[in-house]
């Protein structure tokens, strides 16, 4: 029932208001004495060099893709789990087949060193 979700909408509104108030309060209170050194990026007291917007390791990309794939798997597991009592052996074999195919991929990624962070 969509009406069950109405309190969540209310909560989203209140939480947003809370965050906005806190951030505004933060900007309004306290002293404001900026100087170039204070505003420069913190690099352990050394004069900053270069930009922080540099290219990052492809490993992060790899992790994010693997996460998407397993997240999709989770989303299939949830309806399966709540129905498991009704599905019985059939459910186990259906999910088992699904998992077996993914397991091939998992072993492949493992053997190719996809989980190593070197």
């Amino acid at each position: 029932m969509p009406v069950d979700y109405l309190p969540i909408l209310v909560m989203i509104a209140i939480v947003t208001a809370f965050a906005v108030i806190a951030l505004t309060l933060s900007a309004m209170t306290g002293p404001r004495r900026p100087n170039p050194t204070k505003l420069s990026p913190y690099e352990s007291g050394m004069p900053p060099f270069g930009s922080a917007r540099r290219r990052f390791s492809i490993k992060y990309y790899l992790t994010a893709v693997l996460f998407i794939l397993f997240d999709i798997e989770i989303i299939f597991f949830y309806p399966w789990a709540v129905l498991f009592r009704d599905l019985g052996w059939f459910g186990l074999s259906a999910m088992g087949t699904f998992m077996l195919v993914l397991l091939i991929g998992y072993v492949y990624v493992w053997r190719k060193g996809g989980f190593e962070w070197d």
């Binding site: 990309y61 996460f67 949830y78 309806p79 399966w80 129905l83 599905l87 190719k112």
Partner: protein, 170 residues
């Protein structure tokens, strides 16, 4: 009264979608896209499809967009204006053609289904029956068992693909 959340979410989705296109900084575009996807999830809830809504937020906003953000950071492309303007000129006519085709398709669907009678295909009671997690699961493991199993092959291909792309031969 019931339509207030709908109009709110619909307006939010359209505005944020405009933001995705208009924003010059790719991180802002990605953020606007996150708002679009979450607003759409809200609309799914209004259509009594909570499972789809949760999947939408988890997979699209929580996983795929994180990948987008990672890719943006990986490449650090800077603002859109920094690229030479003419670089992607050939895409413009294609965009018009495909965009027009999509609008035409949607218009056709509307003309054939909802507009003649002025009402949708399904009643709220029917929608409430088919949208729950249990109902989705029941459909998935009976009528759609084969597509479900084939999805695993798709995921397998994606896994192999990402390793081929991201892993150096050593």
């Amino acid at each position: 009264m019931e339509s207030i959340p709908f109009y709110f979410l619909a307006a939010l989705a359209v505005l944020a979608a405009l933001g995705v296109v208009v924003m010059r900084d790719p991180v802002y575009s990605a953020l606007a896209l996150a708002v679009v996807l979450t607003a759409l999830a809200g609309l799914y809830v209004l259509l009594s499809a909570p499972f789809l809504a949760a999947a939408q937020v988890m997979i699209y906003a929580g996983a795929i967009l994180i990948l987008f953000v990672f890719v943006i950071m990986l490449l650090s492309p800077g603002r859109e204006g920094d690229a030479p303007r003419g670089a992607l000129k050939w895409q413009r006519p294609l965009a018009v053609i495909f965009g027009g085709a999509l609008v035409a398709q949607l218009a056709l669907v509307l003309l054939m289904t909802i507009l003649p009678t002025g009402r949708g295909l399904y009643t709220p009671e029917y929608l409430a029956q088919i949208g729950s997690t249990q109902a989705v699961g029941a459909a998935l493991f009976t009528d759609y068992l084969l597509p479900f199993e084939i999805t695993s092959l798709l995921l397998l291909v994606a896994m192999v693909g990402v390793i081929v792309l991201a892993k150096k031969k050593s």
